[in-house]
């Protein structure tokens, strides 16, 4: 699986778990990018505007009310200053992804389901950085599955089963 070679980008990763942020730092920096980690600060959209990352990677299920990653994502897309920033959602919330498939597609958000294959995440990051947000399409990275969606053409060679 080829990952577009576009190094040196600034990637903002938002997650409420330190271990995940550490893991993502190793992945992102291994790809040659620079990473800013946010442990959790969904209400502060101004920080995104200030940082102006080339890409945001976040989980949907964050924070005390558990959907604050989703709230942040909506704010990012609603703000004129941040609406074009590519976003990769990395989450285990398969039902949420299924429910929001239309919104994700309309807003050019790529999805990688947990647990993920490293190549799939790397590929999603590469693709999101490569494509302008306005033309990118929402899609699950190859090998990821969502119930109710025809994934027959996707690479499922790793044997992952649909999640519910």
């Amino acid at each position: 699986m080829a990952v577009p070679d576009r190094k040196g980008q600034h990637i903002l990763v938002v997650n409420d778990t330190e271990e995940i942020l550490d893991l993502f730092r190793d992945i992102v920096e291994g790809l040659g990018h620079r990473m800013t980690a946010w442990s959790f600060s969904p209400d502060d959209l101004a920080k995104v505007t200030e940082i102006k990352p080339d890409l945001i990677v976040l989980d949907i299920m964050l924070g005390p009310t558990e959907l604050q990653g989703w709230a942040l994502l909506q704010k990012v897309r609603m703000s004129r200053e941040t609406e074009d920033i590519p976003v990769v959602v990395c989450t285990a919330a398969t039902n949420w992804v299924r429910e929001q498939e239309g919104w994700l597609a309309a807003n050019a958000v790529k999805v990688v389901l947990k647990p993920f294959k490293i190549e799939h995440l790397e590929h999603a990051i590469g693709q999101a950085l490569e494509l302008p947000a306005v033309t990118a399409s929402s899609e699950l990275d190859e090998g990821e599955t969502v119930p109710g969606r025809d994934m027959s053409s996707a690479d499922q060679s790793n044997g992952e089963a649909p999640t519910r």
């Binding site: 778990t17 271990e19 995940i20 893991l23 190793d26 992945i27 291994g30 299920m61 558990e66 959907l67 285990a92 919330a93 398969t94 039902n95 949420w96 429910e99 947990k114 647990p115 993920f116 294959k117 490293i118 995440l121 790793n158 044997g159 992952e160 089963a161 649909p162 999640t163 519910r164």
Partner: protein
């Protein structure tokens, strides 16, 4: 597959598994665990040259196989968002 990549994959599976284990119900977790184990299986022969990583893989599998599933309850945030849909 280079060693660094195998280490990252092992970490990715274990870290996400441990976090989701605390957050989700047994039905969701069973599916998550099946996918996690499948990813570990995918490392296959690639891990053979690294005895320490083989041991880490065995430990990871043991942890997942031996884990008692969390109760089926409304602790699954994913389920909570989809009730009635």
């Amino acid at each position: 597959m280079e060693r660094r990549h195998i280490e990252l994959q092992l970490r990715a599976v274990l870290v996400t598994y441990r976090i989701e284990f605390k957050r989700r119900d047994s039905a969701t977790m069973e599916t998550f665990r099946a996918r996690a184990l499948s990813l570990l299986d995918g490392l296959g022969d690639e891990i053979t040259p690294y005895p320490d990583l083989q041991a880490a893989l065995r430990d990871a599998r043991r942890e997942m196989d031996g884990a008692e599933m969390p109760p089926t309850a409304a602790t699954d945030r994913d389920v909570e968002t989809t009730e009635g849909t």
